[in-house]
Structure formats: C-alpha cells, structure tokens
Amino acid sequence: MSRTVTRSAQSTTNGLVPPTRAATGGVRVLAVGGESGPGPLQSLRQWAPDLGIDLEWAADLPRATRLLAGGHWDLVLAVLGDRSDEELTWWVDALRAAHGGTRLIALADRPSMGLALRAEKLGVLDLLALPLKREALATALARVRSAATEVALPLPPGEGDTEDHYALVGQSPAMLEVYKVMARVASSTATVLILGESGTGKEVVARTIHQHGPAATGPFVAVNCAAIPENLLESELFGHEKGAFTGAVARKIGRFEQAGGGTLFLDEIADMSLALQAKILRAVQEREIERVGGGESIPVTVRLIAATNRNLQEAITQGRFREDLYYRLAVVTIQLPRLVDRGDDLLLLIGHFARLFGARYRKAIDALSDRALELLRNHQWVGNVRELRNVIERAAIVVSDGTLRSEHLPDELRAEEPGVPDHTSGALPTLAEAEARHIARVLSHTGGQIGAAAEVLGIHRNTLTRKMKEYGL
C-alpha cells in the first residue's frame, strides 16, 4: 500500500560508538606477499612493534583467504603481482565479502597511473609503491585509526509500516511541489508523464497516483520498456494469438488488457521503437488494441501513466520519439527532483531504508555515524534514491550493531572521503596526473564509451585512445 509521508529530520544527540581495536591502538594486519616469501615486506616485521601492528603473513591468495575467513582484520597489505589490475579487483571482491570493514593497502612495483586511478575508484585505502617506506605506511595506518573513531547520530524516527516499499518519503520544497501536482491529478483520469533521472522514484509516484485515483480498486500494471527485448515488447503490451509467431504457443493476454479498469504504467517509454510508438498512440487515441496476429479490435479502459529518464524534446528533434505521442502522454507532467537537490530528505530516506532493511534482516538500526553521514552527503547519487536504497540495504546486511558506520558503506563511496592522498606522487598532481584523472572520470561517466567520452572531452577519439594507452587506463 502506498502512502505519502513527510517527516521532520529530528535534532540529533551525539552518542559515542564503542571504539574498535584499531581506534585504541593495535591494528590487526594481514600481509600477503609473493609466492616465495615475504620479499618486500620483510622490513614490516621490524616496524610492527613501533607502528602498533599486530602482524600476520600469508604467502599467497588461497592462504590469505583462509586467514581472512578465520578472524577479524583491520587491514590487508597485499603485494600485487604481474596481473595487478585483476588482483586488485579480486582483493576488493574478497574484502567486500569479509565482514568487519577490512581495508586494503595494495603494494606494487612502480604503480602506473591507471592502476592508481583504478585503486581509487575501487575504494582501496592506499596504493603504495615498493620498496615500502615506513612513513607512507604510518600515514595510511593513521587513517585506519582515525576512521575507527566515529560518533553515532540517531536516525529520525519512522512512521507507519516499515515494510512499505513504495512509500514516498521527503519534505523538501522540491518534493512538496511534486506532492501538489500529484494531489491535483490523482482524482482525474488524465494521462500523466513522469520525468526524472534514473532512480528518482517514478514508479512510486505512479503507484501513489493510482492508489489515490478513481481506478484504485483496479489493477496497477507496470511494464518496463527498457527491460523487455525489443522483439517481445509488442506482444507483451498487446498480447498475441496462438501461432502468431514462432514461440506463440498459446493466446497471451497483453498488459493493456491486464490493466483493464486500472492503471498501466509504461516505464522508460523512450526506449520504444517508432513502430511500437505508433501502436501505443493508436491505443491511447482510440482506446482499443489488437493482439499480435489477431484481427479483432479489443476495447481497453486503462489510465495510462508513462515515465522516462530521457529528454523527450531532444528525442523528438532527433526523430526518435513521436511528437504526437508526446503530446498525448504529457497531459500532465511531473518532474521529479534529483536526490542531491532534495536536501535533508537524504536523512529521512536513510532512516526509512534503515528501518525497512533492518526489519528484513532482523537488525534494529537506529543510528548513523557522523563520518558515514558525511560520505553519504558528499556522494553524487547518479542513481538517486534507488542507489541510496541499495547502499543502505548493503550496509544493513553487514552491520553488526545498531549503527551504520563508514565501514559498512561501499568502497566506491569511501573512496570519495576527503583527504585521500594522491596515490602516485603524494604532492600536488602533475598536469599529466590531473589529465589522467579527468579522463578516467569522464570514461566512468560515459560507462566506458570512448566515442561519448571523446565528445565530452572535446578531443578526437584517436587522441583519447592514445592517451588512455599512455596513462594505462
């Protein structure tokens, strides 16, 4: 059952999280060396007493895995071999599974800029060059110790059903505007177009409109147009008659018919082919459909709500979206804000998801550490509320007491912690380092698409390919 909830962020009372072993001094370190012995880590044994390290050593990955599974470790110092990139990913995977927030310091012979950037992206605490320097290790250890002293802040209290996956949570001005439009449109049967970036909650808004509208007793049928293979989407929407095509083994009732007397939510509508858009237009205009392979027109009474994260105006200009369909759908338009534009809604949402997943995983989560909150506030949230939900669910799985701390957050988020030293030089970055870092950021933004990245950077793709090779990206 959907509901709209506005909650106020409670004033917080600071309470201290019990300090971990690392905070009080002894850092438990697992050093993982080459196959033939500790090699470059030999001096580590000498430094251990002075640096307050409780050190153990594993010769190789399998032995290290056994030791990791057998106890709590604050830090793993891993010497990377020839396949440093792959090994780094392996370590991040392995430590993600090891509960207790074990951090990783990778050691490599002359680490390339590409490796440094990758380490940073993966949330590795530090990438140090071999031979290992005492000062560099001491600095990294100081960061492990400081991360272990976090202050707990109580989460805002929740209201109502903690199992409600479709609750609209938020009281920011941007969301209040959304609620106003929803309230106006819900009582009508007008077609609604919901716009907003990925993960902003378009389906939640559509469900809420449905549940507060005249068709609330009817079904709510959601179709994700981006998920379904293009060749199957038509039959999924309109159904098909037996034998209409290979694989049409029986008559199938499509989503339009299934939603009869209720609401059909077409998500990611911009992902539809032009041919299918024409058929949707006909269904919207004439309120009837034809099953694939069937000649009969079937009347349908559905309220249509469509949504997209794309710029439909741009798609119309490029000829990828029908203008007439756009105007049919956009009778009322709701624009959802990005999470970063929703201010303190972030804390309310954290509280909501912490309760939701706390209940699922049988954990009473009632606090968030100051450092974790800072990391969550500084994150860019490209996946908006959906990404936040994932992050809190993951944290709820690994948390062992009632407080979500930075160690429970994904490595990628922890990598954004202010004050992460430059992995390659330790001083101000050189022009090449800054360029490599920027290229890596753009590539990450374009999902690795070189053409798109070259366009953003304003350089020829061949130049970009050359630079990627040069920087080992």
Partner: protein, 436 residues
C-alpha cells in the same frame, strides 16, 4: 546501438562466430539504464556497442583468427606430409593437434570433426595407442557438448583397447570418462563403479593428481546420493592428494575441490564455511592460468548460496560480477547459465519481468550454437518460472521443448525431472486433479 539490434543484423553463419564473440566482449552497459528501473533486468542484449569500437578491435580479433586458421592449416599440411612419407602415427598426431586447438577455443563440434578424421586413420594402425588417445578425446568433447551417450560409447571402446594394450593411464582416463557420463545421466551406481575402478588403478600407479581428481568426483557423487558425510571424506582426501602439488593444472583442480566443498557445506546448512570455501576456490583459480569458465561457475555457486540464505542483493551482485567476467572473457555458455540463474532468482522473488533473462539465455544458445543441453536447461527453468507465474500453456510448451532436447541427448534422468514438472503443470490445468 544495442547488442540485440546488432545481433539481428548478423546472419547465423559459423564463419561469423568470432565476430559475434567480438560483439559480446565489446558490449558495455548503458550507464543511463544501470540505475533506471530497467537496471535489474539488464542483459548483454541491452548493452551498447559502437560500430567504430568494433572496427578498431577487429584487427586484434582477425589476428587471433588468422593465427588459429594458420595453425589448423599447418596441422593439416603436417598430416599430409606424414601420410606422404608413410608416417601414419605422425599424421594422427597432427590431426589430433588440430582437434586440440579447436577444443581449446571451445569449438567442440569442430574439434570432434578433426578427431573423427584422426580416428579413421588411427584405426588402420597396428599400434593401438593413437586410436585410444583419439577415442578418449572424442569422449571428452562429447561429454563437454552434453552428448553423453556418444561420449560413453567412445570411452567404452577406449577402455577395451587400453586394457588389451595394458595402458593403465588410458584405462584410468576411460573409466573416469565412463563414470562422468553415468554421473551426468544420474546413473549413480554406474558412476560409483567406474570411479572406484579408476581409483584402484590410480592407487597402483600412485598418481596423486589423478587420485585427487577421482576422489573429487566421488565426493560429488556421494553428495548427489545424499551421503554428505561420505562426500566430506572424499573431498578431504582429494585435497590431501592435490594440495602441495606443482603439476600443471593442480591449482585448477584444487579450485574445483574447494568449489565442491563449498556446495557440500551449503548442503549441510553451513553458509559461513561454504562462502569461505568458495572464496578460497576463487583464489586458487587465480594461481594458474586464469580459467574464466571455472571462475564463473564458482561465482554462480556462491550466488546460489547467497540466494538460499535470503541474501538476494549479494546474490544478484555476485551474478552480475560473473556476468561481467563472462562477457569480457567471451563465455557465452557461462552467460547462458548466469541468465538462467538470474531468471530463477527473479522467479523466486515473484518478479514476472524476470522472463527476460530466460529469453536472453535461449537467444544466446542459438546465436552462439552452444551445447543443446544448456538450451534444454534454460527451457526447463523457464517452464518452471512460467508455471509459478500462472502461465500454464506457455509453461507446458517450454517444458515439452526441454524434454524433447533432453530425450534427443539420451539424458533420461532429466527427461524424468521435466516430466514430473509437466505433470504438475497438468495438475494446475485440471481443476479436478488433486481434488479427490
């Protein structure tokens, strides 16, 4: 352009398989879709490919293809030269080399074709060892392709010949192969007999790696038979044999044993040790030449463990890591297994849109001409998914398709499992059924 669109423009020609592989490995997720509501349903078909990027990578692929074809041509020329100078064993060896090359790159039917030619020649020789070796190779590739009856037939012939020739190593290989064929067909008693025979022969030869491999199989068999304590004992012995060996491939065998240990611990309701065993198995996979297919397989088992313990998010993440690995290492067969598992996961979550994973798995089977057994498994799981989601007609069609494929492969145990599911489907359809 999306991979699904790009694949539609590519005719289903065997010669174009490398291009299809390139399409797969060049596919990148669309960052806009990743966090969208379609994100959880992303498959390789929904990834993006850039024609320009394909063009740039083509040279590298063509070089690999050219080298491969060069080596095949070379092997053939070598076979001709051997024939010309009357060296038939040399010709067999050259043809076998070509088969092994094809097998290495996963072209099983092509490998079998080379081995068949080799076998015809080997049968004419007085020395029976080349014939035994060829028969073992055909047995191995047949099993890998899911053709268990064909595999068993060749292993049987290899066994008879190896015993006649007092070739103990080959007799062990043939016995293990016969055990594997029986195991795949759920003929547990037969598998037990063949593995035990292989074990006795290996004990006499004190071949630790082989002993470890056979104990591993006996462990898998005991687990299938429900003898979990026995399975643990076999796996312990397997580890003892293999651990510390420097032989080529020993690390890979160790990974397999630990993978089996993980599955056993999971069956014993010990998720912690099970996860530990899987993680250690993944570490062993990295020690030798990385085997992406084995890596994918272990990750899938880990995901299944997480799924069984209700840790859906982590299960999903593990499967996605396996998917990424399968895509970048051109493992369409691994992808088929992953998408079948993801569809099953969504089915358990009651998510009807999960059907997209089965559709993708079946499309990949066809596009990459994978073994029919994979397609049958995908259809079986798809049928069960449709049964649960209340589409009995479609469920029945998928299950019947699975049954027909399994039957054509002679896997009677699977046929029985599918028929049991079909009977359930019938019960659902018939209101009277079960009422009385």
């Amino acid at each position: 352009m999306r991979v699904e669109q790009a694949l539609r423009l590519l005719p289903n020609l065997e010669a174009l398989l490398p291009l299809r592989g390139l399409l797969l490995t060049s596919a990148r997720p669309d960052a806009r879709v990743q966090w969208g509501s379609g994100g959880p349903y992303l498959t390789v078909g929904k990834r993006e490919v850039e024609p320009g990027e394909l063009a740039r990578s083509m040279g590298r692929v063509l070089t690999v293809v050219t080298e491969h074809i060069n080596a095949l041509f070379g092997a053939y020329i070598a076979a001709l030269e051997c024939q010309e100078r009357g060296d038939a064993p040399g010709a067999v060896s050259a043809l076998m080399g070509a088969g092994r090359l094809e097998e290495t790159v996963g072209r099983l039917s092509q490998a079998q074709a080379w081995y068949e030619v080799s076998l015809a020649l080997a049968e004419t020789l007085q020395d029976r060892h080349p014939e035994i070796e060829t028969l073992l190779s055909i047995g191995r590739t047949s099993l890998a392709a899911g053709e268990y009856a064909v595999g068993a037939r060749h292993y049987q012939r290899a066994l008879v010949l190896s015993e006649a020739e007092f070739d103990r190593g080959a007799a062990v290989d043939a016995s293990v192969g016969l055990g594997d064929a029986a195991f795949e067909c759920a003929a547990w008693a037969g598998a037990q007999a063949w593995y035990s025979r292989a074990l006795r022969l290996s004990e006499a030869a004190k071949d630790r790696l082989r002993l470890g491999q056979i104990e591993h199989r006996l462990g898998l068999l005991a687990r299938r038979e429900g003898n979990l304590a026995g399975a643990g004992e076999h796996l312990r012995r397997s580890r003892e044999h293999i651990e510390g060996l420097d032989a080529a491939g020993a690390a890979r065998d160790m990974a397999r044993v630990l993978d089996a240990q993980g599955e056993l611990d999971a069956a014993l309701g010990r998720p912690g040790p099970a996860a530990g065993a899987f993680r250690e198995a993944l570490a062993w996979v990295r020690r030798d030449q990385h085997d992406p297919a084995l890596d994918v397989s272990i990750r899938l088992h880990l995901a299944e463990l997480l799924l069984a313990t209700g840790r859906w998010l982590e299960a999903d993440e593990e499967m996605r890591r396996a998917e990424q690995l399968a895509i970048t290492s051109n493992q369409p067969r691994g992808l088929v297994r992953i998408y079948t598992a993801l569809g099953t996961l969504r089915g358990r979550q009651g998510d009807e849109t999960g059907f997209v994973f089965f559709e993708q798995a079946i499309a990949l089977c066809r596009a990459f001409e994978g073994p029919a057994v994979d397609e049958a498994r995908a259809f079986h799981a798809y049928g069960v998914f449709r049964q649960v989601s209340g589409n009995p007609d479609e469920a029945r069609a998928h299950l019947e398709r699975a049954r027909d494929i399994f039957r054509s492969l002679g896997v009677e145990a699977e046929v029985e499992r599918v028929e049991a599911a079909l009977a359930n489907s019938h019960d659902v359809d018939t209101p009277a059924a079960g009422a009385g």
